[in-house]
Symmetry: C2
Subunit: 342 residues, 2 copies
DNA sequence: TTGAAAGCGATACCAG
DNA sequence: CTGGTATCGCTTTCAA
């Protein structure tokens, strides 16, 4: 029978010779109890008929969907996909589904996606991504999230504080500062930064941490030592090319790219300019994505527990703690071949 | 007011002084028409009250959720995250949400996830991943998908044929064959393969294509020239290490890793054995993931239009074509520094 | 313990 | 064009 419709609870109940109410209780154990033999019989016929509960119907009456919604900028970016992996692991443990959307870093899309999320009545909404410069939409987004929470939902940001919501925060500032120390220890003296746009807080924090770290060692950045470009692999290429144009005046010996992805682009830019990364100019990144240790030279970077961030975000969301909690995730410097002792 | 509940259509209708039916028609334009002024008024009050339709309620009556469900093995793997990006783009265009689950390559999880998907009544289910050796569960999975389709859903596999469902197929065999030709043209004579497990069709096909490609050039693989290991970055390391142990007898000059990720692991294995990839032994991968051109030496590989695969899968799912369609996605060899002329 | 019936929020048919 | 109402599949009082 083509296009047969789904098996419903009513059909199961009928086939088992019980009421719909009983069937419901038997299949999704409620508070009420059902005699063991009836439970068995219902379960059996449900199995035989291939019954699957209609999640939407359950959601309508229960008021919330067994779902956690995640908003990321770009799922193809290893940074976000690692976090997502953690979210999925957390959701799995909690018996929840995951619905995912990408904003491509456009706040208008972000707003639209969050509305759509809300329409779904998920148990939690997790928003991943750097805090941006506030604009008209940012405020409206926060508004949406507020009313979502007021109606019983849980919001977790994987971002930077301060925030009115639960927060999983990466220690960008501290990590960058430690990195600066380590690079100075390796003999770096004249630094450059291939930075992602400072409209993203992530970059602001990483730059500040790095600069302050240098200052604590009595060093400072020369004018024009920060080249800003899009926070992508190609941006890294662009920024590095710009820095190389000022190579002489800057006397560049070490470059910090504000993400591993940018560092990869930067390394390629170096090579196409005949500069050997790690040898002529040291290079460090941030994030410690999976491939950082496979490139040549292996990339010095700051390890960020991305998957854990996603996992903890789910836990936080489901914690039922009234007051917004904030979680700091530590980072650690990983020294590799791209920053040899000099 | 804490835990206030959601605004419902009834409330909007009341506030706008119209019937629920009219409000419904005004907000989600149905076949019926609504006078422009009433439409305006309803839209306005909906806006003011912050009304958002309850997707689940709509789904219950409509019979299907505005959702496409995607099952991947591992979202942190760039192969799958690229495909996912394409799926999300396609879904976005079609105005659908995406729910995602990971199976971690365990067929028991896969089965469970597909059941959960079905409970959601999505418009389409997309399963991404290599065909595996059939086991008890594989059959049950196919069963679930069958009955899902019989009840009006759409199933698309991004995998290998033959398949009773819509299929987006990567030309693994052809791509590997072309790669073999190209590598022979570059002067390769004694080949090794760092292969992922042959329990996955992907690997079987890539190995076969490569071997046949060599044969067409009058070459063949020596005994023990295929090292099999898990289809991961670490597996590549393992397999390469094994091949290096037989380096002398094999007289290895070129190694084909059945994925870029494996190639990265293989390159690292080479280096830790003091062998320089691209110089001492040529190395090629498969997939052309984003970072393949950023490693040193840049990795020769076979380009697979991953994002397009995801995108096309959604299109296929929504095409409303009764007969299962099958789509071949072409691949192309990308020659880079890891396989210099020798 | 079990069943009848009242919703949950929204759509769509059928009158008016 | 608009409104009343049956209905979708399921949960949960309220009685029995």
């Amino acid at each position: 029978m083509p296009h047969s419709t789904h098996v419903t609870l009513a059909q199961v109940a009928a086939a088992a010779g019980v009421s719909i109410a009983t069937a419901s209780r038997a299949i999704n154990g409620s508070t009420r109890k059902v005699s063991e033999d009836i439970r068995q019989r219902v379960a059996q016929t449900a199995e035989e008929l291939g019954y699957l509960p209609n999640l939407s119907a359950q959601t309508v009456v229960k008021g919330a969907a067994p779902v956690v919604a995640v908003l990321v900028s770009d799922i193809a970016d290893p940074y976000f996909s690692s976090i997502s992996a953690g979210v999925m692991a957390g959701a799995r443990e909690a018996g929840l589904m995951v619905t995912m959307a990408t904003s491509e870093r456009r706040s208008e899309d972000e707003l639209e996606m969050i509305r759509t999320f809300r329409a779904q009545r998920p148990r939690a909404i997790i928003v991943v991504g750097s805090r941006q410069e506030p604009d008209e939409r940012t405020a409206e987004i926060e508004n949406q999230l507020q009313t979502y929470r007021d109606s019983g939902g849980h919001v977790v940001l994987i971002s930077q504080g301060p925030s009115p919501f639960d927060l999983v925060e990466i220690q960008n500032y501290d990590g960058a500062k430690q990195l600066a120390h380590a690079l100075v220890d390796r003999g770096g003296r004249s630094f450059g930064i291939a930075a992602g746009r400072r409209s993203l807080r992530t970059n602001v924090d990483r730059i500040a941490g790095f600069t302050d770290g240098l200052a604590e060692r009595g060093l400072s950045l020369a004018d024009g030592a920060i080249a800003e470009a899009p926070f992508t692999r190609d941006g890294g290429f662009t920024a590095m090319t710009e820095l190389l144009g000022r190579r002489e005046e800057l006397q560049l010996d070490t470059v910090f790219a504000t993400s591993d992805l940018m560092a990869f682009g930067a390394a390629t830019a170096m090579r196409s300019a005949g500069v050997i990364p790690g040898q002529d100019i040291s290079l460090a990144g941030f994030d410690n994505i999976a491939l950082a240790e496979d490139v040549t030279p292996a990339l010095t970077t700051v390890d960020v527990p991305l998957e854990e961030a996603g996992y903890r975000a789910v836990k936080l969301a489901l914690a039922e703690d009234p007051a917004p909690e904030s979680l700091q995730l530590g980072t650690s410097v990983i020294l590799r071949g791209s920053t040899p002792q000099r």
